[in-house]
């Protein structure tokens, strides 16, 4: 059983999705989905433990050997991502039953859980697989179900947002498909491990450069890197609250994983960063993303929009860490990936609670909520502090690592810019605090009560995780460091 964990990780949610149709009763389906997601979490914890003690796990599907059959390859990086995705999915699901009762008509509840499980299976599949074409297939499984999930939003703008995301997402995925095709044409293999060995032999050809360009642009569309982020704000703002909390914490993270996997493992560091001016390109776009998106976030009147733009800015930090292209920089990126998943799921879930109580996330409706929903608002404040990067929260840990990595590289001005970017976060978080705590409550809102426990428990689990991993950084830092060292080791064959 233990030997089959890599495939069970993907197949359990995938097979569970159609089973929901047979159950077809909202509450039971919810419990079933929660159980399946919990099972995925258990599997990913076991996998991480196994990888940390005994190294990379290689699993041949159907017993076919690697270059012919599809191989699942789990190293520290994969296991780390699997854990993040399944953990966030499980915690977010706790609130799902309560939240979607308000936001989605009862006849669509079963469909919601099916799509949710498919998205989860797709994302776990992208991370678990060691085959480049398999990545495309799982990418489309998760994306297509994500488009449908977003379209379930109450507002009609959800449909429009979903359509725009579909167009952009399909272009991105097709670009990745073209890139994979060109890679196959040059090397005759789709196995990532094999590709990494054969690509250096042909790396000076124009075809490989073209393949690289297509893959990188495709992935950057998926991860909403500035200036390819246009689909993200509306998609996050109008999707049902649960969907936003889940996707904001996981979907872009999976794309970051793909970026790391393709540049570091498949094309190799020397190709990605010396033959192609990726470093300076990503540094500039990452910093531009931080400043433009944070500034736009300040002017938003819908809090879901505000945090969606802040997500784009946070992706900017990850890209900057990536562009440093050192073990320290990559560690910072991976840490921020983990930490940002915790912050954003907490924040968007808390916004889901606000949505449940007052049916809107407009900033002007937040007046006086600090007194009426103290626990929910406190969660938003802690999440906001974490976004800014205040000590004792996770945000501080990853920004610290990022600044140290940048300084180690001698990029002083970049370190200053990163800190300035955090000041912008202070501004947009302050706007919420001001409305919630320092303005009088609106007339006729005296009856608003604290959010139900179904929300408060998962929100506070995430908030406490935000603080816990901000103080006790052993788990996250150890795994992130091991993963990035492993990536660099695989490249040069010597320990750094």
């Amino acid at each position: 059983m233990l030997a089959h964990l890599p495939i069970l990780q993907v197949i359990v949610p995938l097979m569970a999705a159609p089973l929901c149709l047979f159950i077809n009763r909202s509450r039971v389906v919810w419990l079933f989905t929660l159980f399946v997601s919990g099972l995925a979490f258990l599997i990913s914890s076991l996998l991480l433990q196994q990888v940390m003690t005994s190294g990379t796990i290689v699993y041949d599907l159907g017993g076919w050997d690697a270059p012919w059959g599809i191989e699942y390859r789990i190293d520290q990086l994969n296991a780390f991502l699997l854990l993040i995705i399944s953990a966030i999915s499980t915690v977010v699901l706790f609130a799902a039953h309560t939240s979607i009762r308000e936001e989605i008509p009862a006849s669509r509840h079963t469909l919601f859980y099916i799509l949710y499980l498919l998205t989860l299976a797709g994302m776990l599949g992208i991370v678990a697989t060691g085959d480049a074409f398999n990545v495309f297939v799982f990418l489309e499984i998760s994306s297509l179900s994500a488009y449908a999930l977003i379209a379930l939003g109450k507002d009609r703008r959800a449909l429009w947002a979903s359509y725009q995301y579909l167009i952009m997402g399909t272009i991105g995925a097709t670009f990745i498909l073209i890139g994979i095709g060109l890679m196959y044409q040059m090397t005759g293999t789709l196995n990532m491990d094999d590709l990494s060995k054969r690509l250096p032999e042909v790396e000076q050809t124009r075809t490989v450069f073209t393949a690289f360009a297509f893959v990188i642009v495709g992935i950057c569309l998926k991860l909403a890197m500035f200036p390819l982020h246009l689909w993200l704000p509306n998609a996050y703002a109008y999707a049902p609250s649960i969907v936003t909390a889940f996707l904001a914490a996981t979907a872009t993270k999976v794309a970051i994983y793909l970026l790391i996997r393709f540049t570091f493992t498949i094309f190799g560091l020397s190709f990605s960063f010396t033959h192609v001016p990726l470093q300076i390109l990503f540094l500039v776009l990452g910093l531009a993303g931080i400043f433009v998106a944070s500034t736009v976030a300040i002017y938003q009147t819908n809090i879901k929009h505000l945090f969606a733009y802040s997500s784009i800015a946070q992706i900017g930090y990850m890209i900057v860490g990536f562009s440093v292209s050192s073990v320290a920089g990559l560690t910072a990126t991976l840490l921020h990936l983990f930490n940002h998943a915790l912050m954003k799921s907490a924040l968007f879930l808390a916004l889901g609670a606000v949505m449940y109580r007052i049916g809107s996330t407009q900033l002007n409706k937040f007046q006086g909520l600090g007194r009426q929903m103290p626990l929910t608002m406190a969660a938003i404040v802690v999440g906001g502090l974490s976004l800014i990067g205040v000590p004792l929260t996770v945000g501080f840990v990853s920004k610290w690592f990022l600044v140290v990595a940048v300084i180690e590289n001698g990029w002083w001005p970049v370190a200053v810019l990163i800190l300035l970017g955090s000041l912008l976060a202070v501004v947009y978080v302050w706007r919420i605090v001001e409305a919630a705590y320092f303005k009088p409550a609106l007339a006729g809102t005296e009856t608003i009560k604290e959010a139900p426990l179904a929300f408060l428990i998962p929100v506070w689990i995430l908030v406490i995780a935000n603080i816990y991993f901000g103080i006790d950084t052993r788990l996250s830092v150890e795994v992130a460091q091991a993963a990035s060292m492993n990536l660099f080791q695989g490249l040069s064959g010597v320990s750094p």
Partner: protein
Amino acid sequence: MILGLYNYWVVVVLMMVGFYIVIAHGNLIKKIVGLTIFQTSVFIFYISMAKVEGGTAPILTDGVEQYSNPLPHVLILTAIVVGIATTALALALVVRIKEAYGSIEEEEIQEKDNLDC
């Protein structure tokens, strides 16, 4: 050079035509048409890539030494299925958009959204 890469020229032209339609047209159905053309060009690309000069269909028979590569064909079958799913979902969304907005023109939808804000 030009004739030898005939298939690839077709791929490039189709790809650009499809991509242009997606970007330039405001009608949601036309955008989907463009997207489908764009995806189809990639299918042709994969299929052209698999052709081995002088090779036949990959069926084991006597007297044939060289076969075309069947793997890209199999891959592209998967991609075609994905493409159909995408088109179906996009069309379903357009139906819902038409019901909700009463229009499938990008500009009119944007206008109505701006009024809402």
